[in-house]
């Protein structure tokens, strides 16, 4: 693919212009702004990547464009000028948020991929009905046709068995599959503008590459403008034409991708890029496990099958072999990475270990005892020792509890502390993960995606466990915070001998953090070994394919590498 020519050509009229946009939340005791007077523009056929620290207002900006700022947010100023055909601009911010005019634009002309796909899909409707609905709404086709198109879209986003998948529900999908369903939905109407809010956080790099190709294809064919919010600088380097950098609600820097990467002006951008470099090697501070460390966790022949009951009056149910014979050992003080294709059963393995599911077959030995068949008391004790960081932070936070209550919960139920001590402890934990303790009386929905992820991390480390199963714990964090959170975890590892099962799609994070890696494919571990060894000398063809797809965080290297795919043992 030829490098896309640098475009500083601001003469072509932008399709969407954000002017002095200010978004605020009017809380009970007065309003405050989270986005301050930002300006940027999107152009047809161009990709604008938005990067910035977690909580800097990226998602809010994105939502403001569609005029769906979450309550009690309001657009406090500025204009959003949308001009798809060069005939004259409409100010989206001025439209009635429930009116017809904006409705015609939403989904049809400007589509959006929400940051948390897990919670953003309706729990009670099939994936298919949600996609078909979008198609029917904006494209003049019949129901049958729409369904065919939806199947096609799911196939394009690499969902296996798309025809069946249409009739499944969101909770039956893995995190990455939901995200892809979301993408399919957004792309279904061939929008003029695509706003993608961290759309690939849950995707393994091979799938991610395919998705990015898909977007690029559409962009090429239909001149779509893309606003792409991401923390993955590799993706930025691969994809972006322009880059917008945000910090604390302000737009601190914007410009051509090359310019940003080669000559960052703003200190935040510089720090960001520095962090990217840092994450490109194994952590300096990492304490490696001694070879004679005891295995703390041994998983043997683990199987977990989901038996899908038949539809109410439908045909017979089928079985999904989410985990199909996995063997793993985790040593004390070790960090074991799990990588693998989206939907390959990583989360499910993690959940089995944490005791969320009753396993179908196999043993999980913790400290030599099989916890898959443990008694009640033992299970409770184990829960203190094995903690889990959920892939979908939003869903795992009780919407009716404040952050303080959420983090305090394990401390309270395990009778660890109370009163002032509890307060301090919670504040301490929040500070450790980089959140202002003053926010502790807020409810989860009032945080940004990255902030929520950190809350989940704080909850997991609160009890001082021996094993943490971390399912994509840093995917929503910008690189600088990500490295800090990882460092924090490393510190715990060093100080308390904490062990990790670390599920991630980000190879650099794996490399930075993990001693060993297991590569999963279709419910099995296909390769396991020392991190460095796997990265430098992968054996299994899937691993090779995976590594070949890792985006490189340098725009100059764009297209220089030969990517290849693993087509699987044809299931």
């Amino acid at each position: 693919m030829p490098p896309i020519p640098m475009s500083n050509d601001m003469t072509a009229a932008p399709i969407l212009r954000v002017e002095d946009l200010t978004v605020g939340f009017s809380m009970r005791q007065g309003a405050y702004d989270v986005v301050h007077k930002i300006n940027f523009a999107l152009h047809r056929g161009k990709t604008t990547c938005v990067v910035g620290e977690s909580g800097s207002g990226k998602s809010v900006t994105a939502r403001a464009i569609l005029n769906i700022v979450p309550r009690p947010g309001v657009i406090n100023g500025g204009r959003i000028l949308f001009d798809p055909d060069g005939t004259g601009a409409t100010d989206l911010a001025a439209l009635d948020p429930r009116g017809k005019a904006i409705r015609a634009i939403r989904g049809g002309r400007i589509a959006m991929i929400f940051q948390e796909p897990m919670s953003s899909l309706s729990p009670v409707h099939t994936i298919g009905s949600q996609i078909v609905e979008a198609i029917l709404l904006h494209r003049k086709v019949g129901r049958k046709e729409a369904r065919a198109m939806a199947t096609d879209l799911l196939a394009q986003v690499e969902i296996p068995d798309p025809a069946k998948a249409l009739d499944r529900y969101a909770f039956e999908f893995s995190g990455g599959m939901r995200q892809r369903a979301m993408i399919a939905m957004a792309l279904s109407c061939r929008p003029d503008v695509l706003i993608a809010d961290e759309p690939t956080t849950a995707l393994d790099v091979t799938t991610q590459a395919e998705i990015l190709d898909l977007m690029r294809g559409l962009q090429r064919d239909f001149g779509m403008a893309i606003m792409f919010i991401t923390h993955d600088m590799g993706v930025v380097a691969e994809l972006a034409d322009d880059v917008v950098v945000m910090e604390k609600g302000r737009l601190v820097e914007q410009g051509n991708v090359h310019q940003i990467f080669s000559a960052p002006q703003h200190p935040y951008t510089q720090r960001l890029l520095a962090s990217v470099r840092r994450l490109e090697e194994p952590a300096a501070a990492k304490v490696h496990v001694s070879p004679e460390a005891r295995p703390i966790l041994a998983v043997e022949g683990l199987k977990l099958h989901f038996h899908k009951r038949a539809g109410l009056f439908g045909k017979g149910g089928d079985t999904i072999r989410a985990v199909d014979g996995v063997n793993l050992t985790l040593h004390e003080g070790e960090a074991l990475g799990i990588v693998g294709e989206s939907g390959s059963g990583k989360t499910t393995v993690g959940r089995c270990i944490a005791g969320v599911y009753d396993v179908t077959e196999g043993r999980i030995d913790f400290d030599g005892r099989d916890i898959a068949r443990a008694g009640k008391d033992e299970v409770r004790e184990n829960r203190r020792q094995i903690r889990m960081i959920f892939q979908d932070p939003f869903a795992s936070l009780n919407p009716r509890m404040t952050v303080k209550q959420i983090i305090a919960e394990p401390l309270i139920v395990n009778n660890i502390c109370s009163g002032q001590e509890l307060d301090d402890r919670v504040a301490g934990l929040l500070t450790q993960v980089g959140l202002d303790p003053a926010m502790r009386e807020r409810y989860p929905h009032a945080f940004s995606g990255g902030q929520r992820q950190r809350i989940v991390v704080a909850r997991a480390i609160a009890l001082g466990p021996r094993v943490i199963i971390a399912d994509e714990p840093t995917s929503a964090l910008d690189v600088s915070i990500r490295s800090q959170v990882l460092d924090l975890l490393l510190r715990f590892q060093a100080e308390m001998g904490l062990s990790f099962v670390f599920i991630s799609h980000d190879m650099s994070v794996i490399r930075y953090f993990c001693d060993r890696v297991a590569v999963m494919y279709r419910g099995r571990v296909v390769e396991i070994g020392k991190t460095e060894q796997i990265i430098t000398d992968p054996q299994h063809p899937y691993t090779k394919a995976l590594l070949s797809s890792v985006p490189l965080s340098d725009p100059r290297l764009r297209g220089t590498r030969q990517r290849h795919r693993y087509m699987g043992e044809t299931a």
Partner: protein, 376 residues
């Protein structure tokens, strides 16, 4: 770690006060902002105060019959007395009864005689809460042989105003007991049923089904016969309330179960389980708040039903019987054509029911909103 502390986002600036307020404080602020909810709270409190001090607040003995006042319409209080110059001295005009010998209809004509009223005068003796004897009334006629009927009089010539005030006591309290019992049972059993599923669910559901399958009327009739007649009325009613709520929990139980079946696999519930929370805690602390709105709504709906239960039950010879006084009893007594056509003031207790119900409801609204995280 030092560079992390300032990354908490733009949020904190300018909003310190919110940020540090505790959840309960937040809820209280949220509640206080809700004007109608505050009004509801105030009315509710006033009603309870009326209930508590009915003896003192009512000008008459609610059971005092007076043949001269049968179906007497309400009397207006006049405040300004111009008979002997200008003075502020509340009074009402005495009324005279006239009965038509053939149609038997009674009519009242206001006479010129003024019945003067004063605050904290002596009147009919009472025993406050059955404990402290007294005879002080907030409003009393200056001449104790006179009577005043602010809400008119009923068919036995009893003062409706006093009766309504006395009725407040039972109506505002006894319903709450029933509601509380069905709440506790409904939430606990429904919660357990939905949370555990499986045979526990089946068992509880069959119990609910069984309770519901027994039509209510035979139950009431059997009860009417079974309750010993020598029991004091209040005790009988208490038992009836208890039984209403023993049946009433099932509805809430089903709803809680239905929602729990869907909720129990949510990640945040699993997270709570992984936190090591006990099952009771998961049910009550983690899952139940998701149903706050529904529960508040059904409670505010249950209260009027409880208050009015007697009007329906009385058909079966159940419920409170005179001389006990409650709004339900008063309304029950008013349920006839004669009242509709000739003595509409006997429906005033109905207004009180509506008021209290609206008050409870707005109170509930406020509570719901205050507890809603999205409203913060």
């Amino acid at each position: 770690m030092s560079d992390l502390s300032d990354t908490s986002g733009a949020a904190t600036t300018g909003a310190d006060r919110i940020a540090v307020a505790s959840q309960s404080q937040l809820i209280w602020w949220a509640f206080r902002k809700h004007k109608l909810a505050m009004a509801g709270l105030v009315i509710t409190v006033i009603l309870y105060l009326i209930g508590a001090f009915a003896e003192v607040l009512s000008p008459e003995d609610p059971n005092d019959q007076d043949r001269r006042a049968v179906f007497q319409p309400p009397q207006m209080i006049h405040f300004v007395d111009t008979s002997a110059g200008f003075s502020i001295r509340p009074y009402v005009y005495a009324m005279e009864r006239h009965r038509d010998p053939t149609s038997l209809a009674v009519t009242y004509t206001a006479s010129d005689r003024k019945i003067y009223l004063h605050l904290f005068g002596k009147g009919a003796p009472y025993v406050f809460w059955g404990l402290i004897p007294g005879d002080l009334h907030l409003l009393a006629t200056e001449d104790p042989s006179d009577r005043v009927f602010l809400f008119g009089a009923d068919r036995l010539g009893r003062d409706m105003f006093s009766r309504v005030l006395y009725g407040t006591r039972i109506s505002m309290s006894i319903g709450l007991v029933g509601v509380a019992i069905s709440l506790i049972l409904g939430v606990t059993l429904g919660g357990i049923s939905g949370y555990y599923g499986g045979w526990v669910d089946t068992a509880i559901q069959r119990v609910i089904e069984f309770i519901l399958s027994l039509p209510t009327i035979p139950v009431w009739l059997a009860l009417a016969a079974a309750l010993p007649p020598s029991w004091p009325i209040y005790q009988q009613y208490f038992v009836i309330t208890l039984i209403i709520s023993l049946v009433g929990w099932t509805e809430l139980g089903r709803v809680v179960r239905g929602r729990f079946l869907a909720l129990k696999n949510e990640d945040f519930v699993i997270a709570a389980r992984l936190d090591g929370a006990s099952e009771a805690r998961i049910i009550f602390r983690h899952m139940l708040p998701s149903l706050t709105s529904h529960i508040i709504a059904s409670l505010t709906l249950a209260i009027p039903l409880m208050i009015l239960a007697e009007t329906g039950l009385s058909f079966l010879g159940l419920g409170l019987q005179p001389p006990a006084i409650s709004w339900g009893v008063l309304l029950k007594e008013a349920q006839n054509i004669r009242t509709i056509s000739q003595a509409p003031w006997l429906f005033i207790p109905g207004l009180f029911v509506v008021f209290s119900v609206l008050a409870f409801n707005f109170l509930g609204d406020g509570m719901r909103d205050a507890a809603d995280p999205y409203e913060q």
